[in-house]
Symmetry: C2
């Protein structure tokens, strides 16, 4: 990859940032991924993906003010850029198009696996 392609996990993170808008930050993103996918994710994985997405220009971020909760350190809030939106839509369209091009025969009988 030449640094402009969206990886599998990166795409997931990008989508979740959209879903969580405007409250997308490291921990909330992690929680949302876990609850929507049943997949376990370490916090470090999320943050490294976030910073790579920002380097690629698909996300931007700003430091929010601290809240009044216990702990409540300042959050870094992420949001999608125009490039990020384009990348997401492009992937979505490509995949839908390919999905629809698969002939019936290619998948016929596959649901009753090894009888």
């Amino acid at each position: 990859m030449k640094g402009t392609q969206l990886g599998e996990f990166e795409e997931l993170v990008l989508l979740i940032v959209g879903v969580l808008y405007p409250e997308a930050y490291g921990l909330s993103i992690r929680e949302e991924i876990i609850s929507q996918t049943n997949r376990k994710v370490a916090i470090g994985a999320v943050h490294s993906s976030l910073s790579r997405l920002q380097e690629k220009g698909f996300l931007k971020s700003e430091l929010a003010e601290a809240t009044h909760e216990r702990g409540g350190r300042r959050k870094r809030l992420f949001s999608i850029t125009a490039d990020g939106k384009r990348a997401l839509e492009k992937n979505h369209e490509l995949r839908n198009a390919l999905f629809n091009q698969i002939p019936e025969m290619a998948l016929k009988g596959l649901q009753l696996s090894g009888i």
Copy 2:
């Protein structure tokens, strides 16, 4: 990835194998990816992805008989397994669901990038 997750390129290859059925083999897959995505792909990338997909159980393959064309080493033809189909559908559904959960606001005004 723990060996059962589909990588970004792997998912693309899996879709193309479906599209090309029953004539999916290394070179034809490479050509189809290039023509459908305008992305340049090396033959080695395709083959390593194919063998990983087979290890994961998402693809199966068989050696076809030689054709009558000049040259023509025997092709290894790939097709999707039941597990592969499931993985593809699961990804497709998840992505559609997430896409639909993104609030309008998250993408508002992003099309007119840097005027």
